[in-house]
Subunit: 234 residues, 2 copies
């Protein structure tokens, strides 16, 4: 197997401030892997043997509830860590991670986490930020669900997705991975029926265009207006 | 000023696994403080100069939204850390913390956080757990708001509060700090009207008893049934 080069991770926010020699040490302990679309990267409640860095693709993180509901917690973009149970003081994965497209990732054994955290203070500080922003995101969702109409929440979710992984196309900004109306419903705490109704209304108004597992935002600024609760009711 | 003794913090989960001499070093850098009921311990978006350990009392953590909504994020019980912006990679406090009753707390300058985290690996590991469980709580709330009826969410919130800070009384288990119906509404993403309607119905059924800023759970097992969505609709 050819060895991995530190250029794979140099420049990523999570490895910011780490010396080249240390990056070499970090990358030398990683293994690279491909994950085919729809395959599990890791599984909820299973032993967290590894933590991962997504190099290419998109991964959907989904929590299953005991009564069979599924809630999409977030999408992971290239350059982001995932499966960092150690940073949450856990020994099992808190959710399922499913490749939304074909992916490439690096994996490290979880037992290296404490060594990385104490040997590389920048890594420790950077991962605090990762966890902090995920906590912030979760609270933002709680607040949105407490205070916003479903229309605003769906608009916020689409805006967040195009910000995180939008791709410019001739039609507008496309969410760069397959996403179904059911996925959007699971992200916003509403039903498939409601998401379908909203997307159809917005399509009629020329704000978005959507098809099977595909959403393009044509008029982001008008969607911002909707997300702020200033849009016309549909 | 009399010096603080390590017995104040020994035995708390967050200081688990730390040697006595190190506890002495940690406590010697703390300052103790009283916070009167309804006073702010720290303020959202202000510079996070200190982090805190609650020794006595209860503190309500509330996020304000730009459009003036307030959402109760959690209640802090004795022995818990609060204002740990450093553990979230932040330099400002993410929320407001308000003393729900008269409180006693310890405070350390935030600049000590990185030193504590690298000098005391147990402290670092324990605080990962704190942040991990708060993230887990936030996701649980998102899931509850996505999948549960409001009746279940309010039942879950009351059960969580009596588990965290219930006090046995002759009538039943009392939530051991002043809590209003509005507070419960802010914790569960519903309206004051709905909480009032539910508490009245449950009072009629003999499950709870509530008054101004006071909730007693008389029949926790029947409330569990409601929280699981198996209760009679009210």
């Amino acid at each position: 197997m050819a060895s991995l080069d530190r250029s794979l991770i140099a420049g990523l926010p999570v490895f910011d401030g780490i010396a080249a020699a240390d990056l070499d040490r970090i990358i030398s302990q990683a293994r690279s892997m491909r994950i085919a679309r729809d395959q599990l990267v890791f599984e909820q409640e299973q032993e967290a043997h590894s933590f991962f860095l997504l190099l290419d693709g998109h991964v959907r993180v989904v929590k299953s509830t005991p009564d069979g509901h599924e809630v999409t917690v977030r999408y992971i973009s290239p350059g982001e860590l995932m499966g960092i149970a150690s940073a949450l003081g856990r020994t099992t994965y808190p959710a399922n991670a499913i490749a939304a497209v074909d992916c490439v990732a690096l994996a490290w054994p979880s037992q290296l986490w404490p060594t990385f955290a104490t040997s590389f203070p920048s890594f420790s500080a950077n991962t605090y930020k990762v966890v902090g922003s995920r906590l912030q995101d979760a609270h933002t969702r709680v607040i949105e669900m407490s205070t916003e109409q479903v229309e605003q929440r769906v608009a916020h979710a689409l805006l967040k997705l195009i910000k995180q992984s939008g791709k410019k196309t001739e039609e507008g900004i496309m969410i760069d991975f397959p996403i179904s109306r059911q996925d959007v419903a699971e992200m916003t705490g509403t039903t498939l029926h409601t998401v379908s109704r909203l997307l159809s209304a917005w399509e009629d108004q020329g704000l978005v265009k959507s098809g099977r597992q595909r959403v393009v935002v044509i008029e982001p600024h008008r969607l911002v207006v909707v997300s702020e609760g200033r849009g016309s009711k549909s």
